[in-house]
């Protein structure tokens, strides 16, 4: 197992990266890209922040960002 140190920040946040474009459902330009956990595991989504419509959903790491050292064999 790889090593993930404890954060020096007391409170943690998910970074939602702004994305250019327009929501096909509500027309909003407030689109963001970030990992979510849902049916089927982790997904990297591009999502409208106003109506929660997903423009894109692709698989993210099976264990989130945890990497198994054995996968590098």
């Amino acid at each position: 197992m790889s090593v993930y140190p404890r954060s020096s920040e007391p409170f943690l946040f998910v970074h939602k990266e702004p994305v250019q474009g327009q929501c096909p459902e509500c027309g909003s330009h407030n689109l963001r890209r970030y990992p979510v956990l849902s049916e089927g595991g982790w997904w990297l989504v591009t999502k409208c922040q106003d109506c929660l419509f997903s423009l894109e959903r692709e698989r993210w790491g099976r264990l989130g960002s945890i990497q198994l050292l054995s996968e590098t064999l």
Binding site: M1, S2, V3, Y4, P5, R6, S7, E9, P10, F11, L12, F13, V14, K16, C23, P24, E25, C26, G27, Y34, V36, L37, S38, E39, G40, G41, W43, V45, K47, D50, C51, L52, F53, R62, L63, G64, S65, I66, L68, S70
Partner: protein, 649 residues
């Protein structure tokens, strides 16, 4: 803009459309999805009645699921009625373990096992046993049992402790590997467990029993497929998941759009009390979609009070199921319209190797309660009060006549009250919302271990007041007859967990005390220890917010850190007392019928003083010595309630 049309409801599909989607008729799909639930339940009953260790036999600390094949992405159409904590994690555990091992490497007669919290959730003692099911040479699914093993190595016998600092102290980690191949035990895998874990003589028959119940599940599933055909079976797997996705989607749509925020916390970790661990949740609802954002929550703890990312996912799914959609079965489809925004490295998404995970439910139960709190205004009368939250778990170990023994969540808090709902008063002796287990019998505890359970009863004036009363806190006293080592793990004593809803009041907070042999002899009367101040003065506080001199509950008192003594090494005739938190009330207590308040006084759920102060009901008499002679003073009650009502306006 293009408004995306909501999908046609399953019940509105005509016969042809239904068959096109699920490769069978509606009746067959319904029968088959019930049949899958029957199979997992049958597997659990088989394990419960044949298990050897206390934790399986007396606690029901296991669960069973069926998962569909890899090409359908391992959907979970059926989960057992047992331990809820496992049901959510197992929907991902099977996929994660099988994908890492490689589905192409599995054969008929194999059993795969895995116990890594970062891969499959919960803690290392919970091993997930996965049996691939082949029909005519094709991998058509998996029958699975996840069960708590009495021990998995590590520095603490039986593992339960909030003081382990990393994965190396925590216990043996098993990546996905075969335990059986071609229906023969893989000796190296068994040796890996036996060479690292204590109590191998109990683990061996437990695991063999699990294996037999996997075979039972496999046989029942194969009989089913034989009779109905593999395409009907696969259709029914998808049908069951689609149905629970649909009922959750409809339930989300019934909520108003908006952002709903909630918070809860646990006291500290096992190092010291310098840092509380807070869960912050924001539930965003837009139509039939939801996003549950946990940003702003605390980083992982320095000891094994943490939970993992799959435990967090389970808590979210179960919270939404309780509050919004309790009537359809839980499946992997439950979260289809829900996205969880989960920062990694929090105390409920801890990371290896220093974010040790053991008391994972202590971190995810506050997460569940934070969602209950977030949605309580939006739900109005459908809100549900908080429960006792912390198991206040206690484990003891020692050696008697040369034979080592260990207790397993039997003599601490463990069982306690739930919160009230619109349907009525809450039960007072349950397992917390994220679990569903049995209560180990007192007779079995005293037969197996050198202890006497002196009290297991409800504590007066601890239940959250309400038109429907919350459950009362449970007080449990245990006298230890030999030398012993104790791990005590109460984690939610600084603030009430049993919050009231819809005008109901909060339940009380609990605490833990120990009386050393001399103190016990001094305060006991006919063996029992009472509840007055003189008694508590002789006690040593284990945890709780207490008056520093009298050691009685005092919200302005001092917090006693639960792990300032990591291991309590005690002499014979030492007594521990556990008091759980109380459950939250529902509705305005001034609207509770006076006759029900009278009954609560008679049954000692509340005192005459509390009846007057919180319920506005004046009762005369002596509940201790003449309980049936208690009387309501209706005139005084009316006057008191009128005065209280006018004060509120």
């Amino acid at each position: 803009m293009v408004r995306v049309e909501p999908p046609v409801l399953i019940k509105d599909l005509d016969e042809d459309a239904f068959r096109a989607r699920y490769q069978c008729d509606r009746f067959t799909a319904t029968v088959l999805s019930s049949r899958l639930r029957y199979i997992v339940q049958h597997m659990c009953t088989g394990l419960l009645t044949n298990a050897f260790s206390v934790i399986l036999r007396d606690w029901y600390d296991f669960a069973s699921t069926i998962a569909g094949p890899p090409e359908l992405d391992y959907p979970t159409p059926a989960v057992s009625n047992s331990l809820v904590l496992f049901l959510g994690t197992m929907t991902d555990a099977v996929r994660n373990a099988v994908e890492e091992f490689g589905p192409q490497n599995l054969q008929p007669g194999d059993v795969l096992m895995c116990n890594d919290p970062y891969r499959i959730g919960t803690h290392v003692n919970d091993v997930c046993f996965i049996r691939p099911v082949f029909f005519e040479g094709r991998l058509v699914g998996f029958v699975n049992l996840q069960a708590h093993m009495l021990d998995m190595g590590g520095v603490v016998p039986a593992g339960f402790s909030g003081t382990k600092r990393n994965v190396y102290e925590n216990g043996l980690v098993i990546g996905p590997q075969l335990l059986y191949h071609d229906d023969r035990p893989v000796k190296s895998a068994w040796s890996l467990i036996f060479d690292n874990a204590r109590f191998g003589n109990l683990l061996l028959p437990d695991i063999k029993t699990i294996y037999q119940n996997l075979r039972l599940g496999e046989n029942l599933l194969l009989e089913t497929i034989q009779r109905y055909g593999v395409e009907s079976y696969l259709g029914a797997v998808r049908y069951a998941c689609d149905l629970s996705a649909e009922t959750m989607r409809q339930a989300l749509a019934r909520l108003p759009d908006g952002e709903f925020e909630g918070e809860d916390f646990i006291d500290c970790d096992g190092v010291d009390d310098s840092e509380e661990y807070h869960v912050k949740v924001k539930v965003r609802i837009r139509g039939d979609r939801a996003e549950v954002d946990l940003s702003g929550s605390s980083r992982q703890a320095r000891t094994s009070i943490n939970g993992g990312w799959l435990d967090a996912k389970t808590a979210v799914a179960v919270a939404l199921k309780y509050l919004l959609d309790p009537r359809s079965p839980f499946t992997s489809g439950t979260l289809r319209n829900v996205d969880i925004v989960l920062p990694e490295g929090t105390f409920f998404s801890a990371m290896p190797p220093d974010g040790a995970i053991f008391l994972y439910w202590e971190s995810t139960q506050p997460l569940l309660l934070a969602i209950f709190r977030a949605l309580k205004e939006a739900l109005g009368p459908n809100a549900v009060g908080g429960d006792y939250c912390s198991l206040n778990i206690h484990n003891a170990n020692g050696v008697r006549n040369g034979v080592p023994w260990v207790t397993m969540a039997q003599c601490g808090g463990e069982h306690g009250p739930w919160g009230a709902t619109k349907d009525g008063d809450a039960d007072s002796y349950m397992v917390f919302y994220l679990a569903n287990n049995l209560d180990p019998a007192t007779e079995a505890i005293e037969a197996d271990f050198p202890c006497v359970v002196l009290r297991k009863e409800y504590a007066t004036d601890t239940a959250g007041a309400g038109r429907h009363r919350g459950g009362a806190a449970v007080v449990k006293d245990t006298l230890w007859l030999t030398e012993a080592e104790h791990y005590s793990m109460p984690l939610h004593t600084k603030a009430p967990s049993g919050f009231g809803v819809y005008g109901g009041k909060d339940g009380a907070v609990g605490a833990v005390w120990v009386w050393e042999p001399e103190a016990y002899e001094q305060v006991q009367r006919a063996g029992l220890v009472g509840f007055d101040e003189a008694v508590y003065r002789q006690a040593t506080p284990v945890a709780g917010v207490l008056n520093p001199e009298s050691h009685t509950l005092d919200h302005q008192g001092r917090y006693f850190h639960f792990a300032r003594v990591p291991i309590w090494r005690t002499r014979p005739r030492t007594m521990f007392r556990y008091l759980t938190n109380g459950g939250g009330g529902w509705g305005n207590p001034l609207e509770r019928p006076p006759e029900r308040v009278l009954r609560d006084v008679r049954d000692e759920y509340i005192s005459i003083e509390t009846a007057r102060e919180l319920y506005g009901v004046v009762i005369q008499g002596d509940p201790q010595h003449d309980p049936e002679g208690l009387q309501i003073d209706y005139e005084a009650t009316q006057a008191l309630r009128n005065a209280a009502a006018s004060q509120r306006h």
